[in-house]
């Protein structure tokens, strides 16, 4: 334990010049480590015993991810991380191994399932230490013994106090234990085309636009106006998330039955109407057709998206896009919702608990690191105080939004999100419902036929779920 502590301190010292503000983490961790460090030497085996962490014995820190986002965050912002090559790094004398499995065809989860269920028999160097999950399927992992309670790692509620509660709701198991932590609070809103707003609403001021889309009735009215002006509002798949984040029942209840919430049903009916009047289209997200709105030629009124959407989806660096000319605006939209975000979970059986704890604390609670992430990567970070800072300063002004500062809206949105109706089946249900309803919107099926198709697909995906 002592040795570990020393190495951590040297690491901190080495990088202290760069991260003068890291004192927060360092003191916190030193306190915690020193506290149990005294005992840990003798009772190294006490896994799970309150905050007594056994000494780190692993030479390798295995991190399971589906893309490079977290890796680049760690590379750029974690003090003491040295990159070796694209999938390897070093923290002190521990080798960090990134296993990247793509999401496509469920490959990431299939792989993670195998890894976690074989965790016990895996050799020390192969044991998963940290794995990342997304909101849509977080419960599938969080509500199992394969993910450690953060409290077992010695992470206290006080450590997490500055985070938005919705980000904790997502990783709460059925007994209410928090089992993951995120550096992102991806509350999102409506990103509108200012030019189109002037034409349709008569103003591009965020407050006026917000008034025109304040709830779904107003939104639908505006959409009809947009259609008359030759615009489409967006794709039905853009609005889906907004509706589905505001449901009043779980997709799959305790009785194992699929329930179509009334807000989802409203999405179906609203969308059908708008598609029929050509106010919305049915493009799949990320498709060529969906991307057409990035230029003014595409005649699209808005996209729905969080902070990361600004930089990565609007092609500001490319001539001729709306973003290039700073032509977008941002408002809260009809209902508050979030999109995206990545949660870190500690895998039960990790042989590097202290390092895992360190990583989680530094990456998701250290204000200095989070501030850096927010400014360097334009990520919407999971810290109330950092967001408040940004909202009140020019640092938060974004060029492609015509200089608008969206952080106040983003923070407001993040506060309002309530996610107490999550189930482990959300990912499959959301995907399959959108796919099935596309048939209804495009006139290839009646609503009932499309719903039957949805139920069929759900039963194929989750054989243990009933639909009638």
């Amino acid at each position: 334990m002592k040795k570990r502590l020393v190495s951590l301190l040297t690491v901190a010292a080495m990088t202290a010049t760069m991260f003068a503000a890291c004192g927060n983490t360092d003191t916190a961790s030193t306190d915690a480590s020193a506290g149990d460090g005294a005992k840990a030497g003798e009772t190294a085996t006490a896994e799970g015993g309150a905050v007594e962490l056994p000494e780190d014995t692993g030479k390798t820190l295995n991190i399971q991810v589906w893309n490079e986002e977290f890796k680049s965050r760690v590379t750029d912002h974690y003090p003491g991380y040295e990159e070796v090559d694209a999938t390897h790094g070093k923290i002190g004398d521990v080798d960090v191994v990134w296993t990247i499995t793509p999401n496509e065809n469920n490959a990431y989860q299939n792989h993670l399932d195998e890894q976690l269920t074989n965790q016990e028999s895996a050799s020390a160097d192969d044991k998963v230490d940290i794995f990342l999950v997304e909101a849509d399927y977080a419960l599938k992992y969080v509500d199992t013994p394969y993910a450690m309670k953060l409290s077992d790692l010695g992470i206290t509620d006080a450590d997490l106090a500055d985070q938005y509660t919705y980000t904790q709701d997502i990783v709460k198991d059925s007994e209410g234990n928090i089992k993951g932590s995120s550096w992102q609070a991806c509350s999102a809103g409506l990103i509108y085309n200012r030019e189109a707003a002037k034409e349709i609403i008569g103003s591009d001021d965020p407050a006026d636009v917000q008034a025109a889309v304040a709830d779904w009735d107003k939104y639908n009215e505006t959409a009809e106006k947009a259609a008359e002006a030759g615009y489409t509002m967006c794709s039905v798949n853009d609005t889906y998330r907004v509706y589905s984040n505001n449901v009043s029942s779980k997709w799959v209840g305790d009785d194992g039955k699929v329930v179509i919430d009334k807000n989802i049903d409203k999405w179906i009916d609203d969308s059908k109407k708008l598609v029929d009047s050509k106010a919305e289209d049915t493009d799949d997200l990320w498709s060529d057709d969906w991307a057409k709105g990035k230029t003014s030629k595409g005649k699209v009124f808005c996209y729905f998206g969080p902070a990361w959407f600004f930089n990565f989806c609007l092609d500001a660096e490319k001539d001729g896009t709306i973003a290039h000319d700073g032509g977008w605006g941002f408002c809260e939209g009809p209902q508050s919702y979030f999109w995206g975000g990545t949660w870190m979970c500690a895998a039960a059986g990790t042989d590097n608990p202290n390092l895992v704890k360190e990583l989680i604390l530094t990456m998701t609670t250290d204000k200095a690191v989070l501030k850096e992430i927010a400014t360097a990567d334009s990520d919407c970070v999971n810290s109330k105080s950092v967001l408040a800072d940004l909202a009140g300063s020019d640092e938060g002004n974004i060029a492609l939004l015509g200089g608008q500062n969206p952080y106040e809206e983003l923070a407001k949105g993040a506060d309002k999100i309530v996610l107490d109706k999550l189930s482990a089946y959300d990912q499959g249900c959301n995907e399959e419902l959108q796919k099935a309803m596309k048939n209804y919107f495009e006139g290839n099926a009646t609503k009932d036929e499309a719903l039957d198709m949805f139920k069929k697909a759900i039963k194929e995906k989750y054989p243990n779920v009933t639909t009638d």
Binding site: N67, S72, A86, I100, D288
Partner: protein, 291 residues
Amino acid sequence: MAANTNDIAGQTSKGASVHARRLLSYLVLIIVTFLCLFWFYVLFINATRSHSELSAGFTPIPSTHFIDNWISLKNGTQPVFTGMLNSLFIAVATAALATYFSTMTAYAIHAYEFKAKKAMFTFILMVMMIPTQVTALGFLQLIGKIGLDNNAAALIVPAIASPAVFFYMKQYMDSTLPLSLIEAARIDGSGEFRTFNQIVVPLMKPAIAVQAIFSFVTSWNNYFTPALVLHDDAKKTLPILIAQLRSADFLKFDMGQVYMMIAFSIFPVILVYLIVSRQIVGGVTLGGVKG
């Protein structure tokens, strides 16, 4: 398309002059050639375009990002070169095993008289009818049990039993491999195994070339089974890596890179094909020299 070809066949049946028929055939061949080569052109164009250009839709004019795409692919997390070596190794091994052992099996049925012969032939034909995916689940369980999970051998060794290749070899032998030749070899004192290796295999070269390229390409482009079997980045084949690239997150998602990778992975197959194609196109003729 169906109606089209019918018309053409109908026209020829009216006994047009050789001249007109030749013109027609050139016309059709040129259209066909265009349809065949067009895709390579599109791939090339797309590989020269950046992600944002690609998301703006297709244009037939090349752009300037060829090198950028190549560099970002080369420096990305995808082990493209290892992937290519893996693909190459698996495809070559598969093609070699499939053709060699199918020839051997076909030879066994062709040249020898034994009780189970007819039953065996029918049996193999029946085997051919089982779609590979049908047994995919059982196959996965099996390789898990015998420790071949995440091992390229699980993709290579099964190629020894390739009923379709066998079937082709058998048909080919029926028309080109006279038993008298084997008799003669025996009289010269050649052992059976040696006869097979030194006389039969060389005679079968054209058929082997055809089936080798078919097996090579099938294996090179196979995604279904390798994706289920291989898990380590260091062992993955190109189609899996392409799928990974396509499912990258929004931060790294770059269609320019995807197309570059596809172009990159097609290039060696074209090369291999062009090298062997003389064999195939010529070999097909050779098959006819039988009297």
